[in-house]
């Protein structure tokens, strides 16, 4: 088997095929060199965004803290960011461009930000600059950022970015792509959350589909489907949670409640 794999690795055509979309699907389905995501290789500098959850439902506000990565790491001034906000059903609802960035910045997302919309959804951040002189072709920036969630105007509970999702050119001249996360034909990926969910009044898991394919998953005996870019909040009841899915890196965000207090973290 080992020699077969070595032969496979040396064959350029097979190596090429193994790294196509279909190749990843097959590898993940057969569990042969499975891969969660693939860093894009392009001939231009790239800004990758995680898929970030925004919440304005149930009297929530979301605070997003982000760095001016181009200034911090490359001393490039006058860069800007663009936020693309989507509904929970992946409908684009707002684009916000922010210039004159500080080294570290924040954006508060409340219901007023969306014309009194009380709901939840996904957003992405992209860094752009016209200054390409010190950006080498293969530079890839990933903004992991920090998200705070506050309910009823209480203290924001912070959590860092969770999973890579979309990318585009920093030079602002290419389309947005979202094929980083690699999936499987089969529901053969297990993800058990390493937390004992006992003693809480309520626990919600927030699932976002970071891929360009349909996400299928099963939790507490219930099957769910999420189309590309969509998200869903699911309340769980059991103290130990294991998720079966067709995604190698399906890590929901956890909201645990007890009395009037809230804890948000990644699983």
């Amino acid at each position: 088997m080992k020699s077969l794999i070595n032969k496979f690795k040396k064959n350029k055509l097979l190596k090429f095929l193994a790294n196509t979309e279909l190749g990843f699907l097959l590898r993940n389905s057969l569990q042969v060199y499975p891969q969660s995501f693939k860093t894009p290789k392009k001939k231009y500098p790239i800004s990758i965004s995680d898929c970030f959850l925004w919440r304005t439902d149930k009297n929530y506000q979301t605070k997003f803290k982000y760095a001016d990565l181009l200034n911090l790491f490359y001393k490039i001034e006058n860069s800007w960011v663009e936020f693309h906000f989507y509904s929970k059903n992946n409908k684009l609802i707002k684009i916000r461009k922010i210039e004159n960035l500080d080294l570290f910045n924040e954006l508060v997302i409340d219901s007023k930000f969306f014309n009194n919309l009380e709901d939840y959804g996904v957003f992405y951040i992209y860094h752009f600059s016209m200054n390409s002189k010190i950006m080498e072709e293969d530079n890839v920036l990933v903004n992991r950022c920090y998200l705070g969630y506050s309910q009823n105007n209480n203290l924001f509970s912070f959590v860092h970015g969770n999973v890579y999702a979309k990318y585009t050119s920093i030079l602002s001249n290419k389309k947005i792509e979202h094929n980083m996360m690699k999936m499987s034909f089969l529901m053969n990926e297990n993800y058990a959350i390493q937390k004992y969910f006992d003693g809480f009044d309520q626990t919600e898991l927030v699932f976002i589909n970071p891929s360009s394919k349909t996400l299928k998953f099963k939790i507490e005996g219930q099957k769910y489907m999420l189309k590309a870019g969509c998200c869903r909040i699911i309340e769980i009841k059991q103290p130990v949670i294991s998720i079966l899915s067709n995604c190698r890196l399906l890590r929901p965000t956890v909201f645990s409640y007890k009395n009037r207090y809230l804890d948000v973290h990644h699983s």
């Binding site: 530079n139 990933v142 992991r144 203290l155 297990n190 390493q194 937390k195 004992y196 973290h265």
Partner: protein, 250 residues
């Protein structure tokens, strides 16, 4: 790879650690023993923890089990016989994270999935982390928590600095200790975009805590190299760290 765990304790904050006996991708409970370890007179002291397994899946350590010196890890049952008290080792390839929760008595709680990987315990270096990303100038109190675990059982002092990157000056200096959970209180006026926490010589996990009206926020920051996926990532990050070190040493 071996993963180590730690807790947090001061006059306000207490912690609880939930250590799983299963891996994320393999939901099968392993027959492993939980150990506690701490440095004393240049030796690692090891103790078996037998009373804290709550079911097949978890050990749960409560505040009375935790001090800022202790580290915890899972390994095979017979580890004590072959334990080297001069150096921590990779005892068991078992990749897990524990839920580290901090809480206030009669108040809120906050947690994250924490670990201190074996790959970090033999490294020297510099922590570089922005302060404003996770601190809150509207909060009543803000803490920066720096946990170091070093492979040798040393209790050595080292420094952390709050650096003003725009003014190129040190705003504040702290004394830290190796193999310890260091809890630093942060002045509100130093919560600004240009302020960074920087350590000298030893690395660790930087975590940030804010408190207001008995609510807590608790999260760790990501290291700078996680923001760049390029072959020159370490060159770029080293350049930034060098700038910070020049401010410290000028």
């Amino acid at each position: 790879m071996q993963h180590f765990f730690f807790g947090i304790k001061n006059e306000l904050l207490n912690s609880e650690i939930q250590i799983p006996l299963f891996q994320n991708r393999k939901f099968k409970s392993e027959n492993l023993q939980l150990y506690k370890c701490f440095p004393e007179k240049n030796k690692w002291i090891i103790e078996k923890i037998s009373q804290r397994k709550i079911n097949d899946y978890f050990f749960i350590l409560k505040e009375e089990d935790i001090s800022n010196k202790d580290i915890f890890f899972l390994a095979d049952n017979d580890l004590e016989k072959k334990f080297n008290n001069k150096i921590l080792e990779n005892y068991r390839d078992f990749t897990i994270r524990a839920n580290l929760k901090i809480y206030l008595r009669h108040g809120g709680f906050s947690s994250y999935q924490s670990d201190y990987p074996y790959s970090m315990i033999n490294k020297l270096g510099t922590i570089l982390s922005p302060v404003s990303s996770l601190c809150n100038s509207q909060a009543e109190k803000n803490y920066i928590i720096i946990r170091n675990i070093f492979e040798k059982p040393i209790e050595e002092k080292f420094k952390a600095y709050l650096i003003n990157y725009n003014k190129k000056k040190i705003e504040k200096e702290y004394d830290l200790q190796t193999n310890f959970t260091n809890i630093l209180e942060l002045d509100k006026e130093l919560i600004k975009p240009e302020i960074f926490i920087v350590t000298e010589k030893y690395i660790g996990i930087p975590m940030f805590v804010s408190l207001k009206n008995k609510f807590i926020s608790f999260e760790h920051t990501l290291p700078p190299h996680e923001y760049i996926f390029s072959k020159n990532v370490f060159k770029i990050v080293t350049k930034l760290k060098k700038e910070m070190n020049e401010i410290i040493n000028k």
